[in-house]
């Protein structure tokens, strides 16, 4: 038995999420699908599991071309997928979760289902209390429940999408043991990850996907540097670095404890000097975003202290942070940063410090025209925010930053922008730094991190994994560090 993927194409508008993907996996293989965020791994897996229909191409299992129009088709063909967030019904019991959606007549025979659950889970080495609500299980246990269910339904291909997100170290060990077992039993197991070390630890073979294309295929083991180079592409150019005078510490975090969703940051000690640019690197969900949001006052620390310029801001409101000169630019420009349905002029009115009750529209238009000119925004004062391109939205956000800012926090400041806009954004940001503003930004773009940071902080699993002087590191090393490994 083999799973064969033939020339799969899937476009979302102009984005080529899958751009002619082909590869073959033999049964009994634990196969890694490796790629960075947004490389197109998830799209491909959703096509395999029937969530998306491919625009063209074929999926062949055991010599038979599959017609995958819905998850029902995939399940019937024997392809099961475990989603990053296990799709269980939280208030329902383990037993009901196990049996929900299974084929068969009207009669729900819970006692039979219970003995089936006991049998299949014992086979896999799991143990469940069938009466407990699925919401009371840990994420790892929900995963085990999902695996048990898919095995019961007779899955031949199992897809695991980033399965180690949000589970404990012990559960991870257990999960890996299970995955190896399943492959030994003759299943095709696809392990989708952007974590290099996990793929190296676990997989028999690997396919690297970049920008919707298969760029590399090999049997493991493969030297790590090869995988890193293939994952990120060979684009590591070292720029000359402007040296700066480091001022006094501006932002000081001591023993900071942060919790946001599944991300947990424990006892973080961290400083930024005034005028310093610090880049935060790491996989999504490793803690960068949580730190940024905590520094902006959007998350209250669970422990420790956070001071800006000597002022204790621990647990202070977003508004207090603004008053202290902290400004945050979120990644979701239109979702979090701007307001849909209101114009450039209205945005600028919103952030102006004019205290009068009435809006002076004539003045507002003058201000807007001036800012549009100054920040080269392609739009008119009455253009609504959502009609602007991503680059122009970011320019508008820059125009909305008050003049006296001590600390700028940016999340993916140039994501989705063309080269010119990205360069423009950074020119404006670095101007501010000349005036003593410190900048902390998170980015997935290694080039950007290396080019503009003085210091790069790499997060891994909710911890600062490494801190490097930008001048003394390179893209290859960062690739390792982001994957949770030191360069060998």
């Amino acid at each position: 038995m083999a799973l064969e993927i033939r020339d799969i194409h899937k476009y979302f508008g102009p984005v080529r999420a899958s751009d002619g993907v082909s590869f073959t996996i033999e049964s009994g293989t634990l196969h890694g699908i490796l790629g960075e965020n947004g490389a197109g791994k998830s799209t491909l897996m959703k096509i395999l599991s029937g969530f998306y229909e491919a625009d063209s191409g074929e999926v062949v299992l055991d010599g038979e071309v599959l017609d995958l129009r819905s998850p029902a088709d995939a399940i019937e063909a024997g392809i099961g997928m475990l989603h990053q967030d296990p799709l269980v019904f939280l208030p329902f019991s383990v037993l009901d979760n196990f049996v929900l959606g299974s084929p068969g007549g009207i009669h729900l025979d819970r006692s039979e289902a219970q003995s089936e659950l006991a049998r299949v889970s014992a086979d896999l080495g799991f143990h469940f209390d069938p009466a407990v609500a699925a919401g009371d299980l840990t994420v790892g246990e929900r995963q085990q429940l999902a695996i048990t269910r898919l095995m019961w339904l007779g899955a031949k291909v199992l897809i695991f999408d980033e399965p180690t997100t949000g589970i404990s170290a012990t559960q991870r060990v257990q999960l890996f043991t299970t995955l190896k077992r399943l492959a030994q039993d003759g299943l095709i197991v696809l392990f989708v990850s952007h974590k290099l070390e996990e793929v190296e630890e676990l997989c028999d073979s690997v396919t690297v996907i970049r920008q919707g294309k298969v760029v590399y295929e090999a049997d493991m083991p493969v030297p790590s540097e090869t995988l890193v180079a293939e994952m990120f592409g060979k684009i590591f150019v070292q720029e000359d670095h402007a040296s700066i005078e480091t001022g006094a510490p501006l932002l000081v975090c001591r023993d900071l404890v942060l919790d946001e969703g599944t991300t947990h940051i424990e006892a973080l000690d961290f400083e930024i000097a005034s005028g310093e640019v610090v880049g935060l690197a790491g996989l999504e969900g490793s803690g960068q975003r949580t730190l940024l949001r905590a520094c902006a006052g959007l998350i209250d620390p669970t422990g420790g202290t956070l001071t800006v310029d000597g002022t204790d801001l621990t647990g202070a409101s977003y508004r207090d942070h603004l008053h202290a000169g902290v400004h945050y630019l979120p990644a979701g420009r239109l979702e979090e940063g701007l307001v849909e349905g209101i114009s450039i002029a209205e945005h600028l009115v919103l952030v102006s410090d004019d205290a009068s009750f009435f809006i002076d529209w004539k003045k507002a238009e003058e201000v807007a025209t001036k800012e549009i000119d100054e920040y080269s925004i392609k739009g008119r004062p009455d253009s609504n925010a959502e009609t602007l391109s991503g680059g122009n939205q970011q320019r508008l956000l820059l125009a909305m930053i008050p003049d006296e800012v001590r600390l700028l926090l940016l999340e993916h400041p140039t994501r989705g922008l063309d080269v010119e806009s990205a360069a423009y954004v950074w020119t404006r940001l670095l101007e501010r730094r000349e005036r003593g503003t410190s900048i902390m930004f998170a980015s997935a773009d290694l080039d950007e991190l290396l080019r503009y940071s003085d210091r790069i902080v790499v997060f891994f699993g909710g911890d600062i994994f490494a801190v490097r002087d930008a001048a003394e590191t390179d893209g290859e090393e960062l690739g390792y560090l982001i994957g949770g490994k030191e360069r060998v």
Binding site: K46, I75, F89, L90, P91, D96, L108
Partner: protein, 324 residues
Amino acid sequence: MVPIDPRGALIVEATFNSIIAAAAPLIIASMGETITEKSGVINLSLEGSIRLSAMTAFAVAFWVGNALAGFAVAAIVGALIAAIIAYSSIGLKLNQIAVGFVLTLLAIDLASFLGDSFVGERGPRVPPLPIPFLSDIPFIGKVLFDHNLVVYASYVAIGATWWFFYRTKPGLTLQGIGERPEAAFARGIAVNELRFWYTVLGGAMVGIAGAAYSLDVKLGWRETLTLNLGWIALAMVIFGGWHPLRVAFGAYLFGALQVLAFQLQDVFPGVSQVLPIAPFPLMILALVFVYSPWFRQLGSKFPRMRNLLGSEAPAAIGTVFERE
């Protein structure tokens, strides 16, 4: 021992009998809405659906001279209104609350406009049908089994809804699509198709409840006939925690207080006006209790009681499910 006054016993018997009968349309309507909402769709048009179906049921039964024909057409009217809600929310992705509300107003006006000529007419009624043997059981027989088909249908609605939800596979699937449609979809379930049909089924039951008013409980058609039954049914579903037995309990409590208020209006005129709204503060208190930490502790010791009293809204209620 105090000797039982035979006349008093008869009054008690008759009171319980009329509570059961008065609650029947409310039971049928709120079971229908429970099914619809459990699948994740809110049919807010209940008040309008009930009035329009009560009116058409009477009109059809009046013309044909047959109550059953009235019930059949009422079920179709309720199902059609529900189908509009289902299509506009599932197919057109419109806001269910907005569409439901507009349909309520439209159906209410339509009912009073079209039904104008039937006001004051006498139509056929549902014949009484005491169940042989069972109705001969002392007290219980008279209270539960000396009724007509509408009341028996309300019993069936409670039992069947409960059985379907908790004892069948399609019933479990129904709960799944209202709880987490994307998880149901990942298991190969046709979420939107099922939601459509459960909305239509719920609507048909609401239509039958409307017919029960004009052909059984109140007989005849006039605008104020259904006494806000639709809004009350919507409230019952919420207060009943989307659990058929709790919803039914609420409906009977409501029926009891209505009947009591009617019987006591000569004796305590003030109290009888307050009684019909008493179930609502009681239910709010019950909810406060159910959400208290004390109840959660208790619930962990008695999971069955927690399931009955602590059931909550389907998590995806009122939302549109879109395949990505």
